[in-house]
């Protein structure tokens, strides 16, 4: 059913486009095609998402298509890099302050510990250690909470972006002649995106959060430690994500191959039929069809490029922030170790590990969505050739 609708759309595209293909140049054709597809929803979504980073600008699909046609670079990379540089500086300033608090606390704890040692009362040293560690864990958990909220929001944003971009890609895919791919990929892409985003947001992230809390409690109060429970929770979450990713890659590979073969056969048959059986204008008709399909291909690749660029931009900044945080916590763990206050450096190392896992999860999800947009769109590129 969906296949039929999609192929109808494609036929309409072909019939609208073909007279123009005769009359005007490639530029006009691309423009006409871009106007026949409504990219407004996508552009709104993109500008909403990228609006948080005013230094970066994502061009519209039409301008990308024209730029590519004239061999120009459609995206300003130095701008993105300088934006990322200033973001790193800002993150370092903010997170460095947290690290400074942690340093002061642990130095205080070390001094208190030595004082009470020389006074000969072990209990007070223990209490002071506990107080410092409590404050430290509060600070650390707060920044971890910020990180986890950031990652959750990021995954939600990616989800919305994908839901705005998938219908567009599917329509353009069918418009460039890849009916079978469009039919196969539409349910598949939606399923993948929803399952991955939902499982990551509702299962993997909470499991990592639980694991981190359990391990922090273990460092805080070393008696009755639940260290291995934390490991169990974390392994569960990461195994879920890993299995999901393996499944996704396998399915994508198989369906991609099947879809493009079916499309190639169908399109060649169509061209042959038009050439042979439509009396005088058959050859012309099939040439026009090919030209329109080709320009639709260009537009489709432009749309998928917009998607890929947006994913890169909105993922790059949070990933950088997570990376800076992880680095600073590692630095803190290394620097507080010589002070020899029990538990402080272990706590900081645990925090750094947890942030590392968050980094990995975000990266994996973003990679999967990126693959959906790029590989799936280019799996149907070979049809026309």
């Amino acid at each position: 059913m969906r296949c039929i609708i999609v192929s109808l759309c494609a036929l309409i595209l072909v019939f609208i486009g073909s007279p123009l293909a005769m009359a005007h140049g490639l530029d006009t054709m691309v423009k006409t095609q871009a106007e026949s597809v409504n990219t407004q929803v996508l552009e709104q979504e993109v500008s909403r998402l990228v609006g948080q980073y005013p230094s970066v600008h994502i061009p519209s699909p039409l301008s990308i298509a024209t730029d590519l046609l004239h061999h120009r670079n459609p995206f300003n990379v130095p701008q993105l890099l300088s934006g990322m540089g200033s973001a790193i500086a800002g993150d370092l300033a903010v997170e460095g302050r947290v690290l400074g608090i942690i340093f002061v606390l642990s130095v205080l704890a070390a001094v208190l510990g030595r004082l009470t040692d020389s006074l000969g009362q072990g209990g007070i040293a223990e209490i002071s250690r506990l107080a410092v560690l409590s404050a430290l864990i509060l600070v650390a958990l707060h920044s971890f909470g910020v990180a986890i909220v950031m990652v959750t929001n990021l995954i939600g944003d990616l989800w919305h972006l994908m839901e705005a971009i998938i219908p567009l890609i599917v329509v353009l895919m069918a418009g460039s002649g890849a009916f079978a791919s469009a039919g196969i990929f539409h349910p598949l892409m939606l399923l993948t995106v929803n399952v991955v985003a939902m499982l990551t947001r509702d299962w993997v992230l909470p499991l990592i959060l639980f694991a981190t809390i359990v391990e922090l409690v273990g460092h805080w109060l070393p008696k009755f430690s639940l260290h291995y429970l934390g490991q169990l929770l974390r392994t569960t979450g990461l195994t879920l994500l890993g299995g999901l990713m393996t499944l996704f890659l396998g399915v994508m590979a198989v369906e991609g191959a099947a879809g493009s073969v079916a499309d190639g056969v169908a399109l060649r048959t169509g061209k042959f039929l038009a050439n042979t059986f439509v009396p005088v204008v058959g050859k012309m008709f099939s040439d026009a069809m090919e030209a329109v399909l080709g320009s639709s291909l260009l537009l489709k690749n432009a749309v998928s490029m917009v998607g890929a660029l947006t994913i890169i931009v909105i993922v790059a900044f949070p990933l950088l922030k997570l990376f800076v945080m992880m680095f600073l916590y590692r630095l803190g763990a290394a620097a507080t170790e010589p002070l020899n206050v029990g538990g402080v450096s272990a706590t900081l190392a645990t925090m750094a590990n947890a942030l590392g896992w968050l980094l990995a999860i975000t990266g994996a999800v973003a990679l999967m969505f990126f693959l959906v947009v790029t590989v799936v769109a280019s799996a149907s590129n070979g049809v026309i050739l």
Binding site: P206, L207, I213, L221, K223, F224, L229
Partner: protein, 167 residues
């Protein structure tokens, strides 16, 4: 919700750990403290294992069936299984040379009705026993009654077993 269960579980474990540590701090040094450690450890073990135990105990096949198929259970599942079995039988019958279409429906009194049309002439008795065998293999037992209608293009022949009905 599964994750809610996990969350409560982890929360209760953390609370037990906190209380245990508090007890360690408050109690004076001595025998009492040693035993408290043991008791808290045992409670922790119990709290950790009991949800798993409950989960294993609750995992009856009926429960899973209800989870999968929603309310209304048994009927639903049997219908699904029966349709699947008939599809298998249809596929088997279609593989008989000369058979062009085959429809299996539920007949009266728990029996089945098989409508077969053939493209070329076949030996009817052989086809009949083939169909019977196919249904027996697919459903696992011989049906209570069976109506077979064979449409050979020119003539329509009916066979019945159990409650017979001749046309």
């Amino acid at each position: 919700m599964m994750l809610g269960v996990v969350g409560t579980w982890v929360k209760s474990l953390i609370i037990i750990v906190l209380l245990g540590n508090l007890a360690e701090f408050i109690l004076p040094k001595g025998d009492l403290r040693r035993y408290t450690g043991l008791v808290v450890g045992l409670i922790l073990l119990l709290a950790m294992v009991s949800p798993l135990w409950r989960f294993i105990q609750g995992a009856h096949p009926t429960v899973i069936e209800r989870e999968l198929l929603g309310a209304g259970t048994g009927q639903n599942l049997t219908a699904v299984i029966k349709t699947e079995e008939w599809n298998q039988a249809t596929a088997m019958i279609l593989s008989y040379p000369g058979v062009s279409s085959c429809v299996i429906r539920a007949g009266t009194h728990g029996g089945v009705e098989v409508a077969v049309s053939t493209a070329k002439s076949v030996v009817l008795s052989q086809l009949r026993s083939y169909i019977k065998g196919a249904i027996e293999i697919a459903t696992g037992n011989a049906p209570a009654s069976m109506q077979i209608r064979v449409n050979t293009g020119q003539t329509v022949k009916s066979f019945g077993t159990g409650n017979k009905r001749k046309e």
